[in-house]
């Protein structure tokens, strides 16, 4: 006969307590896993529900954290922008087959002032791009799926704008509705811009210093070199951002693309322009697909969306640099936001991960410097673009924004860290965080991003790979020498001193 055993109240509580403890720890672990893996952690995807929230009010300041050496900074000539300059160089030097004799007066003057830029621009066109064509044949098949995905994003686009006096005034509601309260209208504009797809929205007083002095290329009603006259209805700048698809960003540079966020931000801008015009007020989009008359990052900073980071982007508390912005100019009565100081500039002074990890060494290690009257970080656009043009697959790069510690997912662990960084005036948290970032988180060897290794920041997700979806020849695997930016520059007559 078995002795009947009864469970005492105390034993029951002890067993239940032990089981409860294990269940709690397992639950915390599961919640943690979910916080890191779920699509809800892909920052910005929740935007249309207004779920991405960083309360900027405690961090508002009267002046932005970039410095001004002049009361009114000089305007940038759009022809200097490397994409425009490269297009002009291709047409004048190479397509015309006239070489240096084919350059127009502006290009001659510019390259006389910056001879090292001509050398790097020529290296790109004469060496890097032809080598990439060969590398693409050898290794490019691996990245076909992400290229197809990128092309699909570009399939729907918004038309490019014409001159302001034409496009900005088309389709206006007449007479314009009288605005009751600019503050209320500002809240409405932010709300509807989020419904159009933006993750964060801010409003700045229009600053003419950020508008290009001259058009950089033919288009938008301008001829290259035409002066850009500022119409009097550009009084406010509505600035907003749309995040990149997460998995693509993490698999930069080879699988990377900007087409998704370019497209989303451009379409959001076009919708916002229509919304404002239907209220009866002129509006002009400055967007990736619609075109630009202006630099964008300083407008985002003035509108309080973030601060300038070491790699030149506006870094926001929600997305870090992992987003693409657009701006709408208008005279709809609004109330501008103040800029913010969330400790980002101090953090960037300590961090330098982007500079250490940039395969082209385009990102400066030193402090912000004055350029055109603004004290800020400026990258070497030539080095950056030369690396872009060497990348197999995407032909572009976003490693800096993928590895920026502020670009991490919308998981509580990362958000808590960013919140603490923003609230620590001593800078101690920043120092500790930077050390933890460099010790704990994987930062690949920058040389491995070059052919023939063609590494990515993190392995690509399943849906970016060819297998098991399509039959395609595998890479030939032929070895080519790793292209070394610094070694290449050392061969030039004037080695750059960044």
């Amino acid at each position: 006969m078995h002795e009947k055993r009864s469970l005492s109240r105390r034993d029951f509580l002890k067993i239940a307590g032990a089981a409860g403890g294990v269940a709690s720890l397992a639950g915390v672990g599961l919640a943690g896993w979910d916080s890191g893996a779920t699509g809800q952690a892909h920052t910005g995807w929740q935007s249309e529900q207004g779920l991405v929230i960083f309360n900027r009010e405690p961090f508002r300041v009267d002046k932005p954290t970039y410095g001004l050496a002049k009361a009114i900074p000089d305007r940038l000539d759009g022809r200097e922008v490397i994409f425009n300059r490269d297009t002009a160089l291709k047409a004048q030097w190479y397509t015309s087959k006239k070489g240096e004799a084919g350059l127009d007066g502006w290009m001659i003057d510019y390259y006389a002032k910056f001879p090292e830029k001509l050398q790097l621009d020529r290296v790109r066109n004469e060496k890097i791009e032809p080598e990439r064509v060969e590398n693409q044949k050898k290794y490019g098949n691996q990245y076909i799926m992400s290229q197809i995905w990128s092309a699909a994003w570009s399939a729907v686009s918004v038309p490019r704008s014409d001159l302001p006096e034409k496009t900005d005034l088309e389709g206006l509601q007449k007479p314009a509705y009288k605005i009751k309260d600019p503050a209320a209208m500002s809240r409405l504009i932010k709300k509807v811009t989020m419904t159009f797809g933006a993750t964060m929205v801010g409003i700045a007083k229009f600053n003419p210093a950020w508008v290009y002095s001259h058009a950089g290329a033919d288009g938008r009603g301008y001829k290259r070199g035409d002066p850009i006259n500022i119409p009097d209805w550009w009084q406010y700048a509505i600035a907003f951002g749309v995040p990149h698809e997460w998995d693509i960003v993490k698999s930069n540079p080879t699988y990377g693309t900007s087409s998704d966020a370019y497209n989303r931000s451009s379409i959001a801008a076009a919708r916002l322009v229509t919304f404002i015009k239907r209220l009866g007020y002129p509006a002009r989009e400055e967007s990736p697909n619609g075109g630009y008359d202006t630099m964008v990052p300083p407008i985002l900073i003035d509108a309080g969306l973030g601060e300038q980071g070491r790699f030149g982007f506006c870094i926001t508390p929600e997305c870090g640099g992992n987003f693409r912005p657009a701006v709408v100019f208008t005279n709809l009565p609004l109330v501008p936001d103040k800029p913010i100081n969330m400790g980002l500039k101090s953090y960037c002074m300590e961090c330098k991960i982007c500079a250490e990890q940039c395969p082209s060494r385009a990102i400066p290690f030193d402090e912000p410097k004055e350029i055109r009257g603004v004290v800020k970080w400026t990258i070497s656009h030539e080095r950056c673009f030369n690396y872009w043009r060497s990348v197999v697959g995407s032909g572009s790069c976003r490693i800096c924004l993928a590895l920026c510690p502020w670009s991490r997912k919308d998981a509580w662990l990362y958000n808590m860290t960013k919140s603490m960084l923003s609230r620590d005036p001593t800078g101690l948290m920043a120092k500790m965080s930077v050390e933890a970032q460099k010790f704990l988180y994987e930062n690949p060897d920058p040389q491995t991003y070059y052919a023939p290794t063609n590494a990515s920041v993190r392995p690509p997700e399943w849906w970016m790979q060819n297998d098991p979806f399509i039959e395609i020849p595998s890479a030939q695997g032929a070895s080519v020498p790793i292209w070394d930016a610094l070694q290449e520059e050392a061969l030039l007559d004037n080695a750059l001193d960044l």
Partner: protein, 98 residues
């Protein structure tokens, strides 16, 4: 999937049971804690939970190195915390009551 109210309800119930069960165990052993001993114990439990969460969040976010290193470093701290707590607090209290 797991990040919902039901999960946190289960975690809350589990944590409550763990506190009651632990207290019952102490009563059985006729050991009583003062305020700082409870503080150290609850702090250790929260630290253990943070260790697990840090590891799983980073692993799920494809930050494998951070997840593994975090588990090792924070795990060692949690073990040292537990051993010191046992050696300097619990062991002596149990010795007094036996």
């Amino acid at each position: 999937m797991f990040d919902n109210g039901l999960l946190w309800f289960v975690v809350g119930v589990g944590a409550t049971l763990a506190v009651f069960g632990f207290n019952e165990w102490l009563n059985e052993k006729q050991v009583s804690f003062n305020w700082w001993q409870w503080l150290l114990t609850v702090g250790w439990a929260l630290f253990l939970a943070f260790t697990i969460a840090f590891t799983t969040i980073n692993l799920a976010a494809q930050e494998v190195r951070a997840g593994v290193l975090g588990l090792v470093i924070l795990g060692i701290v949690a073990i040292v915390w537990a051993v010191l707590g046992w050696y300097y607090v619990l062991r002596r209290k149990f010795a007094k009551t036996s």
